[in-house]
Amino acid sequence: MQCPKCHAPMHTYNRSGVQIEQCSGCRGIFLDYGELESLTRLEAQWQQQAPPPPPAAQSYPAAPAPAWGAPHGGHHGHHGHYRKKGFGRMLFSS
């Protein structure tokens, strides 16, 4: 599939069961019918579970990321892994 905006190839990612296509050129994201609703639903579930982010965090613009970066679900990012044990180990080892 090609990006409708810049015509670079788009790559498909699966995030929490939602298929999204991201352009390898302009990093734009294409959502199929119903996918926006799925993401909104997942975000609502996430916000119910997660503690509120620090108040300062939301006033910043999104940080730049590399072309190969994980597709973040909106400007809040996806930090469900931060407190997982596996990441704790990774933070402390070479």
Binding site: A8, A65, P66, W68, A70, H79, H81, Y82, G88, L91
Partner: protein, 343 residues
């Protein structure tokens, strides 16, 4: 302290026999007259078994009271090691690197030994309390030191070992998990890196003093418990591209592991301390400088994850999978988003 990045495993028996010898070194340094004078209480450590803080192929660390002794990797270059210890002891690095204690002694099983004051590490159970800003400011100060600022070293500054460690991680994956289905993307992401990032050529930006292996286990408070944060473990320290020291947090952020607000805190503190690895100014994009080192650290982390998972007879966990996913995306980048071609 460094975790294992050496291909294959050294014999555990040799490592085990180092522990009592190392405990003896730590005890004798802890009870040296100038340290013993400051002791107000009897030494509890003398009545307990050796306290092993780390035991890996490339470093065994034993604590005795206020002192830790470290047996470095068996393949340590003795000249480079001596220079790295002298850097840690240099007055110009005061407040940045934990200085070593004087320790003379023979090699233990061919491994150099060093002694250090015990410092309080970051609490692994509380990542929110991790000193991200302090780590960034310490790196900025380290990176601003030039070789000319360090007169009196016993030898020339060695190269920072970051790219060499990434190559060792890939070699370890090839030895332990080459046939794993995820290894192919790690391999392809690795081969797309320029030669310098694979440790096969000098770095184009190699003029800064770098730590070489930054992670949260490389910070301690000294004096215990409320002293300032300092960097420890100079085994990989040397001249190199300073962006390498930011690349592990950058890779975690890019893989979707490190929350954006933590990454912003870290990067912002580095810039506030005039760190030279990325362009100054909050609006300047750091990724043109971070991209290659962060890809290399992504590959290194993924390769070690596959090797460790294979050694433990398990599949990669959810966190490791995110780093493997990042390798898939790097391997699939179109040619125009590849990094500079290998010279």
């Amino acid at each position: 302290m460094t975790a294992s990045a050496a291909p294959g495993a050294s014999a555990p028996a040799a490592s085990a026999s180092v522990v009592p010898l190392l405990a003896g070194v730590a005890q004798s340094v802890a009870h040296a007259p100038d340290r013993a004078r400051s002791r107000r209480q009897p030494c509890h450590a003398c009545r307990q078994a050796a306290h092993v803080l780390a035991e890996r192929d490339d470093g065994t660390v034993v604590r005795h009271d206020t002192v830790v002794a470290k047996a470095h990797a068996p393949d340590t270059d003795p000249d480079a090691h001596r220079t790295r210890l002298a850097v840690a002891a240099h007055p110009r690095l005061a407040g940045v690197l934990l200085p070593p204690l004087p320790a003379t002694g023979p090699l233990l099983h061919g491994r150099p030994v060093s002694a250090w004051p015990y410092g309080l590490p970051v609490d692994p159970g509380d990542p929110d309390a991790a000193p991200w800003e302090q780590a960034a400011a310490l790196l900025a100060r380290l990176h601003r030191i030039a070789a000319a600022d360090l007169p009196g070293l016993p030898g020339p500054l060695p190269a920072m070992r970051g790219p060499a460690k990434a190559a060792l991680a890939v070699a370890r994956m090839e030895g332990a998990a080459a046939a794993h289905p995820a290894a192919d993307a790690v391999r392809r992401a690795w081969l797309r890196l320029p030669a310098w990032a694979r440790g096969e050529a000098p770095p184009p930006l190699g003029g800064s003093l770098c730590h070489g292996d930054l992670h949260l286990g490389q910070l301690v408070r000294h004096p215990v418990p409320q002293g300032r944060w300092l960097l420890i473990d100079v085994d990989d320290l040397g001249l190199g591209d300073p962006a390498w020291d930011l690349a592990r947090p950058a890779a975690w952020y890019a893989a979707g592991l490190l929350p954006p607000y933590v990454w912003r805190r870290f990067l912002g503190a580095y810039r506030s301390a005039q760190g030279p690895a990325v362009p100054a100014g909050a609006s300047a994009d750091p990724w043109p400088r971070l991209d290659v080192p962060a890809r290399a650290l992504t590959v290194q982390t993924a390769a070690l994850a596959l090797a460790k998972a294979a050694a433990e007879h398990r599949e990669p966990d959810e966190v490791e999978q995110l780093v493997l996913d990042a390798c898939v995306r790097i391997a699939a980048l179109p040619p125009e988003l590849a990094c500079d071609p290998a010279p």
